[in-house]
Symmetry: D2
Subunit: 346 residues, 4 copies
Amino acid sequence: MPSPHNIAILGASGYTGAEAIRLVKGHPQLNLTALTGHSRAGQALADTYPNFAGLGLPDLQLWEDVNWNEIDGVFACLPHGASQETIAQIKDKVDTVIDLSADFRLRDPVLYEATYGRPHAFTDLLDDAIYGLTEFARKELVGASLVACPGCYPTCSLLSLLPGVEAGLFNLSSIIIDAKSGVTGAGRKVSENLIYSEVTDGAHAYAVGAHRHAPEIDQMLEIVSSQSTKVSFTPHLLPMNRGMITTCYVQLNKDVTADRVKSAYKDRYKNEPFIQILDEVPQTRHIRGSNRCAIGLFEDRSEGRMIIIAVIDNLTKGSSGQAVQNYNVTQGWDETLGLNVLPVFP
Amino acid sequence: MPSPHNIAILGASGYTGAEAIRLVKGHPQLNLTALTGHSRAGQALADTYPNFAGLGLPDLQLWEDVNWNEIDGVFACLPHGASQETIAQIKDKVDTVIDLSADFRLRDPVLYEATYGRPHAFTDLLDDAIYGLTEFARKELVGASLVACPGCYPTCSLLSLLPGVEAGLFNLSSIIIDAKSGVTGAGRKVSENLIYSEVTDGAHAYAVGAHRHAPEIDQMLEIVSSQSTKVSFTPHLLPMNRGMITTCYVQLNKDVTADRVKSAYKDRYKNEPFIQILDEVPQTRHIRGSNRCAIGLFEDRSEGRMIIIAVIDNLTKGSSGQAVQNYNVTQGWDETLGLNVLPVFP
Amino acid sequence: MPSPHNIAILGASGYTGAEAIRLVKGHPQLNLTALTGHSRAGQALADTYPNFAGLGLPDLQLWEDVNWNEIDGVFACLPHGASQETIAQIKDKVDTVIDLSADFRLRDPVLYEATYGRPHAFTDLLDDAIYGLTEFARKELVGASLVACPGCYPTCSLLSLLPGVEAGLFNLSSIIIDAKSGVTGAGRKVSENLIYSEVTDGAHAYAVGAHRHAPEIDQMLEIVSSQSTKVSFTPHLLPMNRGMITTCYVQLNKDVTADRVKSAYKDRYKNEPFIQILDEVPQTRHIRGSNRCAIGLFEDRSEGRMIIIAVIDNLTKGSSGQAVQNYNVTQGWDETLGLNVLPVFP
Amino acid sequence: MPSPHNIAILGASGYTGAEAIRLVKGHPQLNLTALTGHSRAGQALADTYPNFAGLGLPDLQLWEDVNWNEIDGVFACLPHGASQETIAQIKDKVDTVIDLSADFRLRDPVLYEATYGRPHAFTDLLDDAIYGLTEFARKELVGASLVACPGCYPTCSLLSLLPGVEAGLFNLSSIIIDAKSGVTGAGRKVSENLIYSEVTDGAHAYAVGAHRHAPEIDQMLEIVSSQSTKVSFTPHLLPMNRGMITTCYVQLNKDVTADRVKSAYKDRYKNEPFIQILDEVPQTRHIRGSNRCAIGLFEDRSEGRMIIIAVIDNLTKGSSGQAVQNYNVTQGWDETLGLNVLPVFP
């Protein structure tokens, strides 16, 4: 075994930061060396996350105060904008940066600006960044110094769609993605529409026709298919903590059968440690807290259509779990290191 | 004011029965005269529904023991199969039967058998039954003696789709309905997959590609459009009590604009007391406990497509509320009598 | 019937304000004439409460802009401090003010200051205020111009304890109140500890040993018993919207039996329209949305002790429902006017 | 490292069985060798627990079909009654049986019969059984062949009370325990009162004055104090999956101060790996999925009283986690083996 790597987590007081802490802490090759938090610098981590009390974890500090000489790898769990600015300043001081924000996901700075409402300020870094949908990026990830982890919705959607798109089985312009997410997907944001009584015992769509994750899905579909596309993507907020479903509706190309689609998926994913093709309908609660993606493929009653349903834990496979998976791949390690956490059910 | 009608509720111990009790009890022209329940006959209603304690409501009894001479109208909240059998025996004894089961919704007995796995035993009654999607059936409802209330999913889906289909705005074969329901939609069924810990903090689709409500949606679309169709319909179970969303994806016909669609809906529904066209995305929690249907119409990023989102309370507009609304119409009364219950939020 | 009264609701954008709107809107003798909101003045009510869309309710405005000449009664749903200041300025312009804040509950300004951390600025008004625990204050309430509605915890606790304390059945120094509340009890406050993911699927006590409602409970117990007391009171926050339980532990005085206690309660409450003495254990969900208080009295396994459990909806009987009940009593009306809303279950 | 032990889990299809599987599967010294389930024998585990799909775990089988020669240790997750009968038949075939049922908790068979409504049929085994509240039973546990794991409520209550009772700080007859549990505490029982819509968004007490866990709490308090006692114990069911709170009210003996109590607890628990004494109020969600017990000690406003609040995950420290902890101790292993699972929050 090589000696463990020292890890800094930037933005440790948010939910993706917390999930990164949980996973890194249980990783046999990683030390949790530094935790940063802008507004809570100087506080004990347990003051904001009592679930981490008693573990001897470092206090929160400003990223400027981290001793970067001792850090090998970084998980950046910062808001977009803040992420690129911080990464620009520390990237040369460490070997590997895994970015969980949206800052390096879109390859086209013009599209970035149109989507996130601000120009991209570090386009040179953009060229280095690898889009880390692990199952479709392993080669490029080995040795990468900057990884852009996909958004939670794109992760779930693309794992549902790519095997069929790669194999040319679907009419690309027919794709409709109806997505549903638990509330942690919104992060630890303090706003009226996220307080308990505004969210519990009800559901609703949001950002209808215009969610920021849609261009990211298009981008990957276009790379894989060499066709231009604009998917229909509608997210919904559900009254649950963790968990995400994407229900994808696809029109099969001529002469493509449902069986052929199922075979293609089983074949494509047969050696994937975190992807399960189920005969049953997958449920979010059965993968809660794990790095799994469970997928079910179903023939529709409407001829020539299929329904592909995938579930992930938005904080794990949809965020910090995939980040750790990517870190493992960049180092040439066993991809499952630190990720054998079982789902917590019930 | 005419003298009040005496009402019997069959199957009063289920959830649609309970909601019918709540609404009938608050209705100025209806007396709650008899409540039936097969397995709990002889029990006080409050033993199974403590929320109805202290109201002086009748005990549960067998329907055979009801004094039918004093009953004017019936709300049948029975399982399919049991419903047609009971209605066949009491229909001639009362003026009006509002059936909340699936037994008289499908006009074609062959389709009924294919869908519900048993032959229809009372096809003569089927001919009398009016499909009571109130906003699209008023004329036929006046004076009707047997009303088949639509299922909750068809109610929400059809209210979303019919104005556009009537006006020929949509490509019928493009329709995809992604539906989500709270757990009361499954009724008061005691089964492992409905106990709290198997349902809370998670979500999943079910009956994918084959839900029993799909033929009912087809039937009404076909009547209105004079075209044959098979919609794509996928229901999901959400961890909440009441509430339903249908997210409908439609391809607009050539030269149809989103604005034209919005106008058509506003126009069609401008005098409807229970339908609200919103500019915002509707949320189930804001109509909880009321007979409202709130609808939002949105242009998709994918050209030529729209997303139509409707929310109802599955137990009220999706079931017992619409049943009361239908009763009002059959009698020629003000349609809103007893239905001005406001949503309970938060 | 007398002509309806015109009502202004101050602080209409909070949760007690919203519940007051729901109840006043359904009240046969009350018009909803003005709604005030400091930070949202000028907005349509439906912008902040979509559940009130389509009802033709007035927009939110500053209280300074209300035409006070046309207002008969006021429900003040403001935070403490703000409430006394506003009431001082409008009290002479209207006949009746029902205050839902803490500002006029404690009769002793020194205790008020110790409890709420600020001096009471309107002690003259304090002398006029009637503490409106309706069932124990009817005589004083008739014709009152200023009513201080009890807190939700005191309402539930005192309705549980007072019949026994009045009759001298309990050892006053033995009283322990373990209380549990749904999240709406915290109001529509936007703070990190109230966002969905920090509240759902978990529970905790708070303000242990020092909650602000404890002195209010003491005060009423002392008035009724003529003894000084300091109850033990511990509130807990539960992952639900509405609902409150108080579990009260009392030591019976010598020779007092459980049966005698039960008789005393049944006797004291036999004509109360909103209080139910149950043989079963009361559940919050069965009174959800109603003005009921359901109480169960149980002998403990530990000799000489009883456990008295009461449930209310914190927003209704614990707040705006009791406020309407008090308004009815001040006017000499039937106390149940506008309050026959049934529980919404499931 | 010694060679791993082979483990059989009896009653693997219930919730404590599932939690035992999760923990044993992650334990470095344990192999999951056999899983039994009466009504589901022959089924794949993933059919009943999809969360365990893909792990290569054994199918469910009848306990009669287990190859007992290869089993070292047993976790019995059976209902009371069934547990003693099965254990009687297999105990001699294995080295160590950890029983999670109630069958061997009460030392007095007369009390067992009075509490569980059936005579104890294996009183000889009762004499061998060690009551495994780990922190108070280590000496007896080493080498034990039969361990009776405490109930979830007794675990949480006793960890809250014993340090003070041992040190003679509390008036024993004053103890009141107000307990709250998540729904998994009821197991995977299929009954109407546990279906989602009957449990969510509400709370209630149950078994008031007479819960079966009360005698078990008495028994341990009596052993430690050499005094007879009958605690007041009232459990409540909360709308959450996992988590338990006990709020204990104690009267301090003369001249005992709150500081002295706090010191006694800190001292008693200073080396305990799973017990945390907090200054803040503990929350169940912060220990969710872990084997921790977090305790807060608070002075009451009522003089001479303290409030001791403890939280555990009822399925982990309250059940299967403590069972694994006990197994570790019986073998003389590091007590924390396999139990370093971090809480899952949010």
